[in-house]
């Protein structure tokens, strides 16, 4: 490899066919005279602009004709072909290595003539970068087949985004992170939109795995019901105002009704319905209250029977005390309104518990959050809730549903393949790395390969093939013609 040119933070390197270089790998441009190396990442591989290549290509179909023969006793043709296959590596500068230590200095220029360029294994780079492994979570293999392990602490107190097009392996990685966190005693709440996480406690064969006892499946309306007393007025008001859009006047009347019944120890769904009927207020307010009341009633999420209800607070605390676990809230069978109610309840409750220091911290995994998260929560999650101890991971296949400011403030971004220009443009806003790197690498990622950006990899973008997980798959798309087709390529989670 030879250093060709440098423009801004982009370096062009000439590479020959026998040199093993891939998109995403790191190279060290070692200037022996300066006694330091420039660290660059290959973000694109192009053909070198070899003079006369057009003429060669025009002649090539004729040369490759089996009816032709070359008498080339000196084997010069192999040298000619070698030159024609020369490649131009487009690389981005990521820093400098001097005396085995990494520095952010990018201002110097290595010598063209005295520099030796060699591949820096990602494993070695992670070691130099000081990626700690106190709580290791192995994501998979790098393009060099070495394991890529991140530290669970790099997700602690952080905002993460997992995004990629459908079928790329987002949920798979998400499950891997969930189980990694649970392993180290973290409390993880998963807002499971498609019911994909329900079998986290089972391995691919359907047998119980080591996490079985620590995975709790909550199905709203079935094993996840709450009483009004457990809910409390502040949480109920949030649900009515934010999830059910109850107007201010009506909300005030509802508050009066609630307090009236609470004072008399009569707080129940049935009594609220009765109270609305008897309450002295104008008809539009009464209608508004009735419509919300019936929505709450029909959600089946609320119950007057304490035996039927689950104490969410106690559940969360017990999970934390019992060395962590995952609460999977199955939102798959809920209507959009019921989803809003349940999510509003969960988030409000978590905030309340965290604020009161009843629980330490919660890792929240939210799949397609735009379908159930109200507008004001996004900013809350990024700013306020983070300080309280809600560390969110958004998982989506529609990157434009996540606001730009969320991308900018994300600490870790796990990017799977996108080919759509609009999607690529959206994800390129990620502040952790330049747009060119993101777009160039992500565009060519095969399924189950992911570009990891952020704190987890000390801001060195790394491509990883997400490892298979021995967990029963639930996220597979249902097909009408499935019975007729033999699917030979199984999802990674069922490969073992």
């Amino acid at each position: 490899m030879r250093l060709y040119k440098k423009t801004g933070n982009t370096v062009h390197i000439i590479s020959f066919p026998d040199e093993d270089v891939e998109k995403g790998c790191y190279l060290a441009i070692e200037d022996k005279r300066a006694n330091k190396s420039m660290l660059v990442q290959v973000i694109d591989i192009q053909f070198a602009n070899v003079p006369g290549i057009m003429e060669e290509l025009l002649r090539e179909p004729l040369v490759n004709d089996p009816m032709g023969e070359d008498i080339d006793p000196l084997d010069i043709t192999s040298h000619i072909l070698y030159v024609q296959d020369a490649r131009l590596l487009i690389c981005k500068i990521h820093g400098t290595i001097k005396d085995g230590k990494l520095m952010s200095d990018r201002s110097w220029l290595p010598s063209r003539t005295h520099s030796a360029i060699h591949r820096l294994p990602i494993e070695k780079l992670m070691e130099i970068a000081g990626v700690a492994e106190s709580y290791p979570i192995t994501l998979g293999e790098t393009i060099e087949m070495s394991p890529l392990t991140i530290d669970a602490t790099s997700l602690d107190g952080k905002l993460n985004i997992i995004t990629g097009r459908k079928g790329a392996g987002k949920s798979h990685l998400s499950k891997l992170l969930v189980l990694g966190l649970v392993k180290y005693g973290a409390t993880v709440i998963i807002l499971d939109l498609n019911g994909e996480y329900k079998k986290l406690g089972l391995n691919s064969g359907g047998e119980r795995n080591e996490f079985y006892e620590r995975v709790h499946i909550l199905v709203p309306g079935e094993n996840f019901k709450v009483t009004l007393a457990q809910t409390g007025l502040p949480v109920m008001m949030k649900m009515l105002v934010h999830a059910l859009n109850l107007p201010g006047t009506s909300a005030r009347e509802f508050r009066h009704i609630w307090l009236f019944l609470e004072e008399r120890g009569m707080l129940s769904l049935r009594e609220i319905g009765e109270a609305i009927r008897r309450w002295q207020c104008n008809q539009p307010v009464k209608d508004a209250l009735y419509s919300r009341y019936y929505t709450l009633l029909h959600s089946s999420f609320f119950t007057d029977n304490p035996q039927e209800a689950i104490d969410f607070e106690t559940l969360l605390q017990s999970v934390e005390w019992e060395n962590g676990g995952a609460l999977v809230v199955d939102l798959s069978s809920l209507s959009s309104v019921d989803r809003l109610i349940v999510v509003e309840y969960i988030l409000a409750k978590i905030q309340e518990l965290l604020y009161q220091w009843k629980i330490r911290a919660v890792f929240l995994f939210a799949e397609e959050a735009h379908l159930y998260l109200r507008e004001t929560y996004w900013d809350d999650i990024v700013t306020r809730m983070r300080h309280f101890g809600i560390f969110t991971t958004f998982i989506t296949n529609q990157p434009n549903t996540i606001k730009e400011n969320i991308y900018r403030q994300a600490d870790n971004i796990f990017l799977f393949n996108f080919v759509n220009e609009h999607d690529l443009e959206v994800i390129s806003r990620a502040a952790k790395v330049d747009a060119e790197t993101t777009i160039s690498i992500v565009r060519d990622l095969p399924p189950h390969y992911c570009l990891v950006l952020g704190d987890a990899v000390r801001n060195f973008p790394v491509v990883v093939k997400v490892r298979p997980l021995n967990v029963k798959t639930m996220g597979e798309t249902r097909f009408f013609f499935a019975r007729d087709r033999k699917i030979e390529t199984a999802a990674p989670s069922c490969q073992q």
Binding site: V50, E55, E56, L74, I76, T77, H79, I80
Partner: protein, 312 residues
């Protein structure tokens, strides 16, 4: 082939009665094999003591409507002031060159090397093909040699012995009649045709130091193609010569009036820029030479105005 083409020299036609000799051409598709030979040379670089050049030859033939090729080379040579005589003597051309010094002479040796390879291939082909049409590049003329040995003559004889006819195409011709290029004389003709240039029409002065071994024709193989000077083996009867052109027309494709077989031979032998880089790489790796860019004095002195020849 640059070297041979140069041998055409400036030939003048003495009078203008040639127009009566234009004959239409009828293709004769008799499955005669058509074989074309071409060679190229290129200067790969300069060393402290001389130049490094490379030569390559190509043979293309049409076999059952399918073109086949054989490429020979590239062969790199280091020509220096010290070894130039030896190189020429190996080529059997030591007497035929005036020993000037300097780079121009070395480039001339490069041209001789190319000619030698081309003649060697032509000799081999003329002896291995029978009842065929052999296409060469340039004119069928050569300088008078004191040794009495003439490779072109030997090639033509060998070809005749194998019932072949040698046709040599010149892409450019300086032969003129009444101030007009001979190739312009039949451009207005519709359909394939042939203009015969009689020996008497060629001035004696134009043949100075040159032996014309072929009969000169101007041939237009395609109505919409160009006209070319074609030299046909002069030792053959006129009917055979004309028939050979018609057999070529009937057995090969033409591109802009040029035989496809010969066009491919040229394409296969020519060096591209990436060929040169590959050869430089071979030399650097095999002989430890370091390739450095030589400063362009003209560019350095005159900047964007530094165009023009390499002469003093």
């Amino acid at each position: 082939m640059e070297g041979v083409e140069e041998q055409e020299g400036a030939i003048e036609v003495c009078n203008g009665d040639s127009f009566s000799l234009i004959s239409p051409l009828e293709p004769i598709p008799d499955d005669s094999p058509v074989v074309a030979v071409d060679a190229s040379s290129i200067k790969v670089g300069e060393t402290e003591s001389g130049i490094i050049c490379a030569v390559r030859g190509a043979v293309v033939w049409d076999e059952r409507k399918c073109y086949r090729y054989l490429r020979i080379g590239p062969f790199p040579f280091h020509i220096t002031e010290e070894n130039r005589k030896k190189v020429l003597s190996v080529l059997g051309q030591s007497q035929s060159i005036i020993f000037n010094s300097g780079i121009q002479f070395l480039v001339e040796v490069q041209s001789r090397l190319c000619s030698a390879l081309e003649r060697w291939i032509q000799t081999a082909i003329s002896g291995s093909v029978s009842n065929g049409i052999i296409l060469l590049d340039g004119a069928l003329s050569s300088r008078f040699s004191n040794s009495g040995f003439n490779s072109l003559e030997q090639i033509l004889r060998k070809a005749r012995d194998n019932s072949n006819v040698v046709l040599s195409f010149s892409k450019t011709s300086t032969v003129r009649v009444l101030g007009r290029k001979i190739t312009d004389l039949i451009t207005g003709q519709s359909g394939p045709c042939l203009l015969e240039i009689n020996d008497g029409m060629l001035s004696a002065s134009s043949r100075n130091n040159m032996r014309l071994l072929g009969k000169v024709y101007v041939v237009k193989l395609n109505e919409r193609g160009y006209a070319f000077r074609v030299d046909v083996d002069g030792a053959l009867p006129r009917e055979i010569q004309v028939m050979a052109v018609q057999r070529l027309l009937g057995n090969d494709l033409t591109f802009q009036g040029y035989p496809e077989t010969l066009r491919l031979a040229h394409i296969f032998s020519t060096f591209t820029a990436s060929d040169v880089i590959g050869i430089q790489r071979f030399i650097a790796e095999e002989y430890g030479l370091k390739v450095v860019s030589w400063p362009d004095i003209r560019k350095a002195l005159f900047g964007p105005f530094g165009t023009g020849g390499t002469g003093d």
